[in-house]
């Protein structure tokens, strides 16, 4: 019902934009009511055009609500279990990449380590996501555990690649030469 009104309006505007009715030879007014006041027309529209019982506001649909809640719950579980599900995949990648130190294994290890850390850093955002779920706390803990497991795996990988400074040799460069307590010199009798 708005289209005809727009068209009418346009025509009305153009006729008015032309400089007023005085200059025109003729004009066709298709709309009802007078052209003087738009506000009048707007206010009168609702009363005149909509059928009886028509309401602008949508009516909430209560019949599908139960199925949706299940869906949300499922979705939240998906989010919470995501890190755990990645672990077998990571294990496989770890196994495949081997323990040699070269660019690809290093990149993989970095990815593996970085993803859980990133997830742990945006923990609050994820918790907000899980807010709608009833098992919010459980899911949160599962999510946390998954990520922690992921990072533990990355650390294990670093360890097996020898990237962690866990041996005494890794700290060798920081040992200061011992201070000498005695001054000694001499030699063959000249």
């Amino acid at each position: 019902n708005a289209v005809p009104t727009g068209g009418m309006e346009e025509v009305a505007v153009s006729t008015r934009g032309g400089g007023g009715t005085r200059r025109m030879k003729w004009a066709l007014e298709l709309s009802l009511g007078n052209t003087r006041s738009r506000g009048d027309r707007q206010s009168s529209q609702g009363d005149t055009l909509y059928p009886i019982g028509y309401s602008d506001k949508p009516v909430p649909d209560t019949s599908v609500q139960e199925a949706d809640r299940n869906l949300v719950e499922k979705r939240c579980w998906d989010v919470a279990l995501g890190p755990l599900k990645q672990i077998p995949m990571n294990l496989f990648i770890m196994y495949m990449s081997g323990n040699t130190i070269s660019i690809f294994p290093i990149m993989m290890v970095c990815m593996m380590a970085w993803r859980p850390i990133q997830a742990l850093m945006s923990l609050s955002a994820t918790f907000k996501l899980l807010e709608s779920s009833s098992q919010q706390w459980l899911q949160g803990i599962v999510y946390l555990i998954g990520n922690l497991l992921g990072s533990a795996l990355a650390i294990y990988k670093c360890q097996s690649m020898g990237l962690l400074p866990t041996h005494s040799s890794d700290w060798l460069a920081f040992i200061e030469p011992p201070q000498r307590m005695e001054i000694m010199g001499g030699g063959m009798v000249l």
Partner: protein, 960 residues
């Protein structure tokens, strides 16, 4: 398969270790100087105008030819060192330089133009007495060699023996000299002490004894042959000359001519020296001769018609010499002019008249020695007058070649052929840098003044920088050959990486040199007079250049072997000037010295001198130093090794500067003798305290700064019973940490002791080969005390690992590289008798090299054990610049961690840089700056252009 892999790994390792120089790097960082030693005999080759040469024979057993224009070597023939190659005499005729070497062992003839060996003859045994060229009928054909019991005549052309004759009564008669005066006779002069002279005349053709003269003579003196076969002898006891005509038929007695009858006044202690000349061996000697009456008094005498007459009296005159050109013979006389100059004048030998315009003035270096020998090369000028050049040798073994009227053509510092010890000293900062540094040393005098001072010094710095830029710009326009970087003592300044240093060299003759390590130029020299020939030197750097404005200070300890007394010479190593600091006078013989890391208030390290009563003298001995010494006394130890008694003893300093004996180790001298004792170098830094094993644990090094390596050799040198012993002894406690005996081994032993390892080289008498052995000490996987090291608190002995390797050559000397922080891997620098200097990676001498390569050893980069040590020619750091008779190698760290400065000295001096782990901290020499910068600029402009293009495109799209 595994074997192949290890082989491959090994090959790869070897390839990665190659560090030979590229062709265009030759002479860029290195230089070599060749020396010949102290001149014993010199001859000028003058038979043709075109090829003039100077033929020398020296005390270093060298026959050499020098270019008289430049002083460079044409050729040099180096014989065996020691008495075996000693040059007894050098005779020169035409193109042949005839040399008798090794106390009459060999007779050799060298071709003078190229230095090729014409011929060589083994002479009959017998100690050498004299040799002379023999000429007959105006040509020189023979060489006569007089030995203890024989006289032999050899052809000059091929060395073959013409004849040899036994001398009669050779056990009673001391034969002395052999003469020929151009006839067919050869005179041999012998003396029976306190009895008579014996003159034997041989026929040159067949060696037959034609005549046996004897003349009574009670005491003995010097004799020469003058004129037509007249023997002139001088006697100090009767103060007279004796004449004896040799050619006369009937025996004639000696004719005595008292010196007083010749109107000659004599100095006390008259030691007569006679000097004659025989311009051509085929003709009789001149009738004129010189008689030395005193140290600065000579007289020219003439023999005519059987009468002696003085021609001219020269006083003062230090040195005299004859020279011949064509038919003219001149006498050259060197007389002192004043304190710093001498003059040489020519006199006609016939008349004793002085030749006009022939004076050469020699300016003597006040830091040099007095003239010792004079060699004159005379030549005829176009106007038939005599011109000449002079070769003067001074006491400090400097040879100077001068030409009229006193211009020095060249100078050679032959003392450098015998370097005893050396040190490298950092150069001082430039004036501007010093200006900045000086700010920190001074006391604060208000904020405003400090700011002003800082601003002014920065301004000076800016000014210097602009001047430098301007000079760069100015020099860039000139062709490269014209740009000379003249190094003078004024322009000396430390470079960016401290690669240029001052080499302070001490030579056996007692002359000190300061040499710029970059160019090899002698910047200063200082001759120490009255240094005994067999003195012992020890050079110490007491204050480095780091303590501006205090000048650097070196101290040289000179000990006279005879008296045992020592003297200290304190000097500035940059300028060579004697320091105004007065060293202590040492009244008792000094046994050893010890440079402490303690400093006095002027930042000079304290030197302790231990005398034969084991009392200590400190230098400097200010109150501050004595106080510090008192505080530190209980921590100062020293050890003395007496090789003759086989005794090692350790002492501790008491507060009153006396000492107490705390330990003593006696190695019985009847069984073995101590040949070397080596501690660690004081300026050595070890960066890594341990070694990383394959399983990533650490094997900690046993870094005992007080450890001494003592090497002994058995007295019994029988192949089966000889042995070499190695003792590692703690110098503080006297504890023997380790001892090893290498059976069936013999010296000479060369030893390097550094970090936690000892490398030594010996001769394996059983297998007849040279072997290297390496000892490494480890503390284990746990450190006992990581913060302090005290020898007094070390309950555990270290683990000692040892391995030996076969080395395909004998070695002359050995030293380890040294770097600033000790991060760079170590190499051993091995001087070979061939003159090469081998840079041998220490990783080849590693007792942890496994027999079978395992995973872990590969992880550790250990090369599998191979008994043979390779010598790769790429490892020769001196490529073809052989260092003859290398005696020592000195290494010094530079400002760059990767770079170590090396000086090898012996007969030659060679300086270079080595990079044991490659140049990891500098851009390569051939780094392509142009390519890199053009790529950078290209990318930069490409970015700019594409940015602009992108903007245009975006705008266009927006308009669409």
């Amino acid at each position: 398969m595994a074997n192949l892999r290890t082989c491959l790994a090994f090959l790869f390792l070897c390839c990665s270790l190659c560090d030979a120089v590229y062709e265009d790097q030759v002479g860029k960082f290195d230089w070599r100087q060749q020396y010949v030693g102290k001149v014993l005999f010199a001859h000028f080759e003058s038979h043709s105008q075109a090829s003039k040469k100077l033929i020398l024979a020296t005390d270093k057993n060298i026959v050499a030819s020098l270019n008289p224009r430049t002083g460079d070597l044409f050729w040099r023939q180096v014989d065996k060192a020691g008495p075996e190659g000693h040059i007894d005499t050098l005779l020169f005729h035409g193109q042949d330089a005839v040399v008798v070497t090794g106390n009459g062992r060999l007779l050799r003839s060298w071709e003078s133009s190229v230095g090729a060996l014409n011929w060589e003859m083994l002479l009959d045994p017998g100690s050498f007495l004299a040799a002379v060229l023999v000429g007959t009928q105006d040509s020189v054909k023979f060489v006569a060699v007089l030995k203890k019991a024989t006289v032999s005549l050899h052809y000059l052309s091929n060395g073959h023996q013409k004849w040899t004759e036994t001398l009669p009564d050779s056990d009673t008669v001391h034969y002395q000299a052999v003469y020929s005066s151009g006839g067919s006779q050869l005179f041999v002069l012998g003396v029976v002490p306190h009895s008579h002279l014996s003159i034997i005349t041989f026929n040159i053709e067949d060696g037959e004894i034609t005549k046996c003269n004897s003349a009574p003579m009670l005491s003995l003196r010097v004799c020469i042959l003058v004129g037509q076969g007249v023997l002139i002898c001088a006697d100090a006891s009767t103060l007279s000359l004796y004449m004896l005509p040799l050619s006369s038929e009937e025996p004639v007695g000696l004719q005595q001519v008292p010196l007083q009858s010749l109107d000659l006044d004599l100095a006390l202690g008259f030691q007569p020296v006679l000097l004659t000349t025989q311009p051509n061996p085929a003709r009789p000697p001149l009738a004129q001769f010189f008689l030395q009456l005193g140290p600065d008094h000579h007289v020219l005498l003439q023999l005519s018609d059987g009468h002696l007459s003085p021609l001219r009296d020269f006083q003062p005159a230090f040195l005299v010499s004859f020279a011949t050109t064509g038919e003219k013979t001149v006498a050259a006389v060197l007389s002192p002019k004043n304190e710093t100059a001498c003059s040489v004048s020519l006199y006609s030998a016939d008349s004793g008249r002085r030749l006009l315009d022939t004076t050469v003035t020699i300016h003597l270096d006040p830091n040099g020695g007095k003239p010792e020998k004079l060699y004159v090369h005379a030549f005829l000028k176009k106007d038939d007058s005599v011109g000449y050049r002079v070769l003067v040798q001074t006491e400090d073994h400097t040879i100077t070649f001068l030409q009229q009227p006193g211009r020095i053509v060249w100078t050679r510092e032959e003392a450098l052929a015998d370097v005893v010890t050396m040190e490298m000293v950092d150069l001082p900062l430039t004036g501007t840098q010093a200006e900045l540094e000086g700010e920190f040393g001074k006391k604060a005098d208000g904020l405003a003044a400090m700011v002003l001072k800082r601003l002014s010094s920065q301004l000076i710095l800016l000014q210097a920088w602009i001047a430098h830029l301007w000079k760069l710009f100015y020099d860039a326009r000139k062709p490269r050959s014209q740009v000379k970087n003249e190094v003078t003592i004024e322009t000396l300044a430390r470079d960016e990486f401290n690669l240029q240093k001052m080499m302070v060299m001490v030579t056996a003759s007692g002359k000190l040199f300061g040499i710029d390590s970059k160019s090899g130029m002698v910047l200063w020299k200082h001759y120490l007079r009255n240094v005994q020939p067999n003195a012992v030197f020890k050079l110490m750097v007491q204050r480095t250049t780091a303590h501006f404005p205090h000048p650097p200070q070196c101290t040289l300890l000179i000990k006279d072997k005879e008296t045992g007394l020592a003297a200290l010479h304190v000097f500035n190593p940059i300028f060579g000037k004697k320091s105004h600091v007065t060293p202590p006078t040492l009244s008792r013989p000094v046994l050893q010295s010890l440079l402490l890391p303690l400093m006095d208030q002027d930042y000079s390290k304290v030197l302790l001198l231990i005398d034969d009563e084991y009392k200590v003298t400190a230098f400097p001995s200010t109150k501050n130093v004595l106080q510090q010494l008192q505080e530190m006394a209980s921590a100062i130890y020293f050890f003395l090794v007496d090789a003759s008694q086989g005794k090692l003893s350790g002492f501790r300093l008491r507060k009153d500067l006396s000492t107490e004996l705390i330990w003593e180790v006696v190695i019985p001298p009847e069984v073995q003798k101590i040949v070397a004792v080596k501690g660690k170098r004081a300026n050595e830094h070890v960066h890594s305290q341990g070694r990383v094993m394959g399983d990533r644990s650490v094997l900690y090094k046993y870094l005992n700064p007080n450890l001494l390596a003592v090497v002994t050799e058995s007295v019994d040198t029988h192949q089966e019973r000889s042995f070499v012993g190695v003792f590692l002894i703690d110098g503080v406690t006297g504890r023997i940490i380790h001892e090893a005996v290498q059976r069936k081994a013999r010296g000479p032993i060369h030893l390097v002791h550094s970090e936690n390892w000892v490398v030594y080289e010996y001769w394996n008498a059983k297998s007849r080969r040279n072997e290297f052995s390496v000892l490494e000490l480890f503390e284990g996987t746990e450190l006992y005390n990581s913060t302090v090291f005290s020898s007094l608190d070390r309950p555990h002995l270290p683990q000692v690992l040892q391995q030996s390797y076969i080395f395909p050559s004998s070695i002359s000397t050995m030293e380890a590289t040294l770097t600033e922080k000790g991060i760079t891997s170590r190499h051993l620098l091995v001087g070979l008798p061939s003159g090469a200097i081998l840079s041998l990676p220490k990783m080849f001498l590693d007792p942890r090299r496994p027999e079978m390569a395992t995973e872990q050893s590969r992880e550790e980069n250990l090369i599998p054990y191979a008994p043979e040590m390779p010598i790769r020619t790429e490892w020769f750091i001196n490529y073809n610049q052989s260092v003859t008779r290398v005696r020592g190698i000195y290494t010094a760290p530079s400002g760059l961690e990767s770079t170590c400065l090396v000086v090898a000295y012996g007969l030659d001096i060679f300086q270079t840089r080595v990079y044991p782990s490659k140049q990891f901290d500098v851009l390569k020499d051939d780094y392509d700056y142009v390519l890199i910068s053009s790529v950078l600029f290209g990318l930069f402009f490409a970015t700019m252009i594409s940015k602009r293009l992108a903007q245009v495109k975006l705008l266009n799209r927006a308009w669409r």
